[in-house]
Amino acid sequence: MADKGDLGSTLPLSRVKTIMKSSPDVSSISQEALFMTGRATELFVQNLARVSLEQGGNKNSLEYKDLAEVVNSVELLQFLQDIIPKKIKAMEYLKMMQKMQDEDS
């Protein structure tokens, strides 16, 4: 499995480069750095999928809530919290707002 992953399934580096260039202050990227970022992203996707499946309740399916749970609980995934927020019901949200108002007053 690991060997297979190392050989195949490569992200298009042209697209990775576009994303990298969209970051402010970036002037130029060496070919090696581009390649490395692509690989790192692959590792990241594999890791995120695996960990979310392991931590999730159902071993036969990977759901959004599994990802949100992992992103919320794992410290080094904090940078994803705005991208994959935990979903809450409107009722819970209203309760939260109520609580905050109570605390303020």
Partner: protein, 179 residues
Amino acid sequence: MAERPEDLNLPNTVITRIIKDAIPDGVNVSKEARLAISKAASVFVLYATSCSNNFAMRGKRKTISAQDVISAMEDMEFDHFIQPLQQCLDTYRRDQLDKKEATEKKKKAKEQESSVVIDLDTNGDSNDDNAEDVEPEADEDYNPEEEVEEEEDEEGEEMDSAKGDDAEVVEISDESADT
């Protein structure tokens, strides 16, 4: 630098394949989960780029290097990515070297092409000859018995059919006698 917003997404097909390779077969990945992972991957690229760029700027360099990406992984606390990435980098560098050498060799090879081709041909022929030498012997060990059996069978069949013919002839003659 006017990229369309969809240019900042990574292709779904590739993301889906990477996810499928990472988890056991038969696990269902919901569409929402796939989209979330895809977005997360884009954000990861941006985050890594920003960190790598910081290292480049600190070193007063304009170009992000492979080492900057590795330093960024350490900074982001994705330490467990460093070793596989280092390995990837080593193979990548070796591949690039091999490619360079291959193109240089091609130039040289073109000059020596004729002699090399002749060498290969003679080798190939001698190998073929050996193979042919071995096979017939093996056939000789096995075939005679088979052939004998087949011959016996064929003879038997011929005898049977001959008898059958005789019988038919007899029947016909009987019929002709009746009519």
